[in-house]
Subunit: 369 residues, 2 copies
């Protein structure tokens, strides 16, 4: 192993430890679980679509502090299948009408909301009222008002709320954030980021505005937005945007592709894009005074790669980002520490995405701040 | 040599031959030189700065149909040096006040204008009035009115006017245009392009708005704009832009960095950027339905490289882009064919750049077309 790779690995560990020692400055948590070393928190997965089936349930098997304890689904056939596959007892199987009964189920510590975007608030608030901590998939919701309601509900319940920003637990992203914030290549000047894919089934909820709240921007463009904010550590103060639609039948309800620009307080500019129309957009580059660095691919579950203009290696072994994300949230709960991806972080992205839509719609740049 | 590389090389040759046979549909040319096989056209270089010294004069030595016949300079010491180095007779050495006397100098067929941007019209018009063909460096001028005056002067004189778009003669660019226009990867959907550098001497004319007409957009951003137009074969119908300035002393007169978006009639979006502040921005990527391709670096004199998402090679031997550009113009003149980079092409870029500046200034997208 090259010496610099080793030292970078040490950095990642150090960062994780430093984060572990950070004081809780987030929402007020009045009632928490006592830290019990080795305890595994019970997770309830709400919504058994592709992400839960293909990623989250398998990832839960790889965690240190989590276990799949319960499911919430509106499809009895799915319940039967999961019950058999994961040995989930009947009492831990809920549907969307019964999930509030979780309140008297001590097997469940955390509810992971994996339903369509426009249902996140409903399911998060139900979980909070049942006294559960909530991990909610991105985008947090389809409006800032819904996001705020989720934050308020969890705060009122004295429970933590985290948003599923898996890339904030991915080692290449962490290393890029270190290179940026330690100014290893000097002051940051510009960033490019894009994430998109060619969407298949025209009948899926992602293409339904009422359920999705938007198109690729809400679904995957948010990764480019997150990367720009997370890597630079800055918040945009101005956005402009242009969208396009070549297939108004398939994309009658949501945007097809959108490209947007952001200006940050330091003067840094970012140009980002996303699409449901074509493959290949999956990377970011950060330009600084003394060179550049980034990732390509940047936002995949596996196979991400980093690069640096000085030719030094930017490579880490793959991690299961969902397992790390869930373990991190469990450890925050067990140790009464705040998550680094709280509801407020999700709200910020939704606010910016609404500004991007406004800029694209009006042809006028939108100030944020 | 791999078979596909060989076939691509054949394509480039075929393309060049096809271009050679294209009918003259450009400006009216009433008086032309008869084609004399093997004849070398005499070039006068106007402005002996870095480009003339480091690139154009050496490139002229490598051309088949051009020769360095004359110089125009306001600096007597430069005249002495060039006279000695290139064996230029005294009668072929001019300054900016005497260059109109070229009219009675049969050694000069083409005047290559390499002065600061805001002097291009003056020197082009003087050359045209002296009966010379004109090759003018990019950007064509600092306003569309000046561009039009140049076109009109050359048309009136019955002489050709070409703009120094060297990348239109670079084999990787030509191959990318072929991949785009033949839809080898299907319909084009999005393009990213950027070119910039960290500028040195704060006292150079490039930072003086009166001489440059703008900053990096006019100087090198134009390559990203050209790439988007040349590769796709489309003209933008909408632009939006955001600029930034972190050093208002050095960049008191021109923009420091600017990023802009363009929408094209097919629905294709392009996001582009340029800078005088940081290094490394020198690439483009084209995303299409079945994959992507592009160049990185894209706009260098040497060392450009292409890439394709299907892993096939996109690589050609380096050419001297200036030598090919000048030979092409000479052949156009000798054979009474129109250049593929006429004044109208330069005017289009200036018109779009003015719209980009307007969009950045007003925060409102600008419609074109």
């Amino acid at each position: 192993m090259p010496k610099n790779l080793s030292s970078r690995r040490r950095f990642i560990k150090t960062t994780a430890l430093a984060a572990a020692g950070a004081p809780f400055f987030g929402g007020l948590v009045t009632k928490t679980f006592a830290a019990e070393p080795g305890r595994k928190l019970g997770f309830a997965l709400v919504g058994l679509g592709n992400l839960s089936t293909g990623q989250l349930a398998p990832a839960l098997q790889k965690t240190a502090n989590c276990r799949l304890a319960a499911i919430v689904t509106g499809t009895p056939a799915k319940a039967e299948k999961w019950k058999a596959q994961y040995g989930i007892p009947d009492k831990n199987i809920y549907n969307y009408d019964t999930m509030e009964r979780m309140a008297d189920n001590p097997d469940i510590d955390v509810v992971y909301v994996v339903t369509p975007n426009a249902l996140h608030a409903e399911h998060t608030i139900k979980a909070a009222r049942a006294g559960k901590h909530v991990l909610c998939e991105k985008p947090m919701e389809v409006s800032t008002a819904q996001c705020q309601a989720m934050i308020d509900a969890c705060k009122k319940a004295g429970r933590q709320l985290a948003i599923g920003y898996r890339c904030q637990f991915e080692p290449h992203h962490l290393e890029c954030a270190r290179l940026a914030r330690e100014k290893v290549f000097g002051d940051l000047r510009m960033m490019e980021a894009g994430f998109g894919f060619a969407i298949g089934d025209p009948n899926q909820w992602r293409l339904n505005h009422a359920l999705a709240g938007g198109g690729p921007l809400m679904d995957v463009g948010i990764y480019a937005l997150q990367a720009a904010r997370f890597v630079t550590g800055e918040e945009p103060i101005l956005v402009s945007a242009v969208e396009t639609k070549t297939d108004p039948v398939k994309f009658k309800d949501v945007e097809e592709s959108i490209t947007w620009e952001m200006k940050f307080p330091s003067g840094l500019l970012a140009r980002c894009s996303t699409t449901y129309k074509f493959p290949g957009l999956n990377n970011f580059t950060v330009y600084a005074d003394k060179g550049s660095f980034g990732m390509n691919p940047a936002f995949s579950y596996l196979g991400n790669r980093g690069f640096r203009s000085d030719g030094k290696e930017l490579r880490f072994d793959a991690v299961n980002q969902f397992a790390v994300e869930m373990d991190n949230f469990a450890q925050c709960i067990l140790n009464n520490r705040p998550t680094k991806v709280p509801g407020e972080e999700g709200l910020r992205d939704v606010r910016i995405m609404m500004a991007i839509y406004q800029a694209a719609r009006t042809g006028k740049s939108v100030k944020l701040g």
